[in-house]
């Protein structure tokens, strides 16, 4: 913004007088510009409020919650609620806190992410370069599933899993995440590989490389960015999952989201909002960390997952 405008905007063009002002148009904060920032700032405040309120509530004591108001910052911040949420909060008679759910989520997360990305990468690679018969149909079926509500599959799947002895087990939930991660994973890898020049693939074949060698030594190293994107998608997606964890993980492996819901909805005694909010914050920490540390990669993940077909 220029501090000293050298001229003012002429109202009407005058012809030929020659001594009209020159130089930069004086910039001012127009009403439009002001309105734009006002809208953005107010919306940003609206978006941040829930996070702020969660944090503030989690640091308050129960008396302060009852007496104070939602937006006030705690007078005497305390992490007692966080400690309780993590280690001693109860679901029913079980008072071991969220830590159990956290560990379960980690144990589910690691193998599920690895397996779902591997299967998706191989499938995407095969579909985009080798195009075996029926590839189009297979891909179409995968894309269709991306829209179908899971409720359609769940009951028979439970029956199949119990027949195969996978029900209520870690292996079972990992397989479920792989199954339902397949459409998106296949899609992003297929799109990534399809954008590579086909000459690369032909050159490798002329050089005598086979199916797995082309995959491992040529395509996979070129897929590092998309693997990062896939990991961001899967880590947040699987961590945030509720329904599969509820149905397939079994009592011993309940993930953090399910346990969080159980803690908050536990009917024992008086409701402790500070503990509830501390538990909610704890559950949100992993995806929030992924989001803030991955920056633009998160947006890339959205874009990659969004380009259907």
């Amino acid at each position: 913004m220029s501090t000293e405008p050298r001229g003012k905007r002429p109202g009407r063009p005058s012809i030929g007088s020659g001594n009209e002002p020159s130089g930069r148009r004086p910039q001012k904060m127009t009403t439009g510009r002001f309105g734009l920032y006002a809208f953005l700032v107010i919306t940003a405040a609206f978006f941040l409020t829930p996070l702020y309120v969660m944090l503030a509530t989690s640091l308050k004591s129960m008396p302060e919650i009852r007496e104070g108001n939602l937006l006030s910052w705690p007078i005497a911040p305390t992490v007692a609620a966080w400690v309780k949420a993590w280690s001693t909060a109860c679901t029913g008679l079980n008072c071991t806190g969220l830590q159990v759910g956290f560990m379960n989520s980690v144990r589910i997360l690691v193998p599920s992410v690895l397996l779902s990305i591997s299967v998706g990468a191989v499938t995407g690679y095969t579909l985009s370069f080798w195009r075996p018969r029926g590839a189009e149909i297979l891909f179409g079926a995968l894309m269709m599933v991306a829209f179908v509500p899971y409720q359609v599959f769940i009951y028979p799947l439970v029956r199949i899993f119990s027949y195969a002895g996978l029900n209520n087990s870690l292996a079972g939930i990992v397989v479920v995440h792989t199954i339902f991660g397949l459409p998106t994973m296949t899609l992003i890898f297929r799109n990534h590989f399809a954008a590579l020049p086909n000459e690369l693939f032909r050159a490798a074949r002329v050089d005598g490389a086979g199916f797995w060698r082309i995959f491992g030594q040529i395509m996979l190293p070129m897929a590092v960015p998309i693997i990062v994107v896939a990991m961001i998608l899967q880590v947040t997606g699987i961590w945030n999952d509720f329904i599969f964890g509820l149905v397939f993980a079994g009592r011993e492996n309940l993930p953090m989201t399910v346990q969080l819901n159980n803690i908050v909805n536990s009917t024992q005694g008086e409701r402790e909002y500070n503990v509830d909010m501390a538990a909610t914050m704890l559950t949100a920490l992993v995806p929030l960390a992924v989001y803030f540390f991955s920056g633009r990669w998160f947006v890339r993940g959205i874009a990659a997952g969004a380009v259907k077909g």
Binding site: P10, G16, S22, R25
Partner: protein, 359 residues
């Protein structure tokens, strides 16, 4: 058409943040003139065009169009029309919609819009395409539509920003002729930005060669081609490129002479812009087609021969210095031959070795 459509740029300066892109630039463009802004990318030519259009604000200076100071006028109020490199057609509108959009926004009468679109379409032979969408057109057709959109505005000044650079060579030549014909027919002022020196030489009444935020030379195509103002202009304009020999001026003031190892060229007949200084380091530039051979006294060895259809280009070596010569296609010359060259004084260009300025 407005009575006056001359353009005057007075002391215009533009910076993007700390980066200066145009420096105190003055330029007068006459009514109905075809001026080409020629230069490598980043020289400021497109910035200047955008400033004339009102799409970029100037930091200092004034822009006058048709006798009016338009420095702060909105683009639509400047009496200009513009053609863009990427065509910038509105993809969801038909050709007719694209061409008439500005008029419709301005609230022109329907019959008037209809007539002007029809006339422009006929002039550009795109009447058949009027109901199509841009995505259904070829590159050449899209550029015709983009030109048509500008024609409909009935402006006195046309601004063309590299309009042909996205087209293949054949279409480019075709549309070049088309644009020249339009200019003759409309009598509008045209300002045309390009980095293609062939386009500049074929289209322009005058060329402004730009580099490093400044106009290096302003003149007719002949001026720019035959009498480049400095070494940059000499190398940038012309294909195949001008050859150069590094040397110095002889010491005898009565008979000026260019001297380099193995080369002595008398300069009698060369139009010096300023009095030469004896012993001054200079670079001698000469276009390949101006080099004569046969009875000269400069010995040159042929290193490579490049046939170009109608003629051929021979790459020579004079002592340590390279030079090229353009020869008729049937000239029997091969690698290893020795030619005897003559460099006619009135075809020479001498540049100060230090500053690069023409002598």
């Amino acid at each position: 058409m407005p009575a006056r459509s001359d353009v005057s740029i007075r002391g215009v300066e533009i910076s993007y943040g700390p980066v200066r892109v145009l420096e105190r630039l003055d330029l007068e463009i006459a009514q109905s003139e075809f001026l080409v802004l020629l230069g490598p990318s980043g020289c400021g030519k497109s910035t200047l065009l955008n400033a004339i259009a009102g799409l970029t604000d100037v930091d200092d200076g004034q822009i006058w169009i048709g006798g009016t100071n338009v420095t702060w006028h909105e683009p639509k109020d400047r009496g200009i029309a513009m053609v863009f490199q990427s065509y910038a057609l509105y993809p969801r509108m038909t050709v007719r919609g694209n061409m008439s959009f500005g008029l419709r926004v301005a609230g022109a009468p329907k019959a008037d819009i209809e007539r002007r679109v029809r006339e422009a379409a006929e002039m550009l032979r795109i009447t058949d395409l009027l109901e199509r969408k841009p995505s259904e057109l070829s590159g050449g057709q899209r550029q015709r539509v983009a030109i048509g959109r500008a024609l409909v505005r009935d402006a006195g000044v046309f601004l063309l920003d590299e309009p042909l650079s996205n087209l293949d060579a054949q279409l480019r030549a075709e549309l070049r002729v088309e644009i020249k014909r339009l200019h003759q027919r409309l009598g509008a002022t045209m300002i045309y930005v390009t980095h293609d020196q062939i386009e500049a030489l074929t289209l322009a009444d005058r060329i402004a060669v730009m580099k490093d935020r400044r106009i290096q030379q302003l003149g007719s195509p002949d001026d720019v081609y035959l009498r480049p103002a400095n070494k940059f202009v000499a190398t940038f304009v012309g294909s195949p490129a001008m050859g150069f020999l590094l040397g110095k001026l002889g010491t005898d003031p009565s008979a000026p002479m260019f001297e380099a190892p193995g080369v002595k060229v008398p300069l009698t007949g060369y139009a010096f812009a300023e009095r030469p200084v004896a012993g001054q380091g200079v670079e001698l530039g000469i276009r390949p087609e101006h080099v004569l051979h046969g009875d000269g006294d400069i010995a040159a060895d042929v290193e490579m021969v490049e046939p170009m259809g109608s003629d051929k280009l021979a790459w020579l070596r004079i002592g340590e210095q390279p030079l090229s010569i353009r020869l008729p296609a049937e000239t029997p010359v091969a690698r290893g031959d020795r030619l005897h060259l003559k460099l006619p004084a009135h075809r020479l260009n001498l540049f100060d070795a230090a500053s690069g300025q023409r002598l």
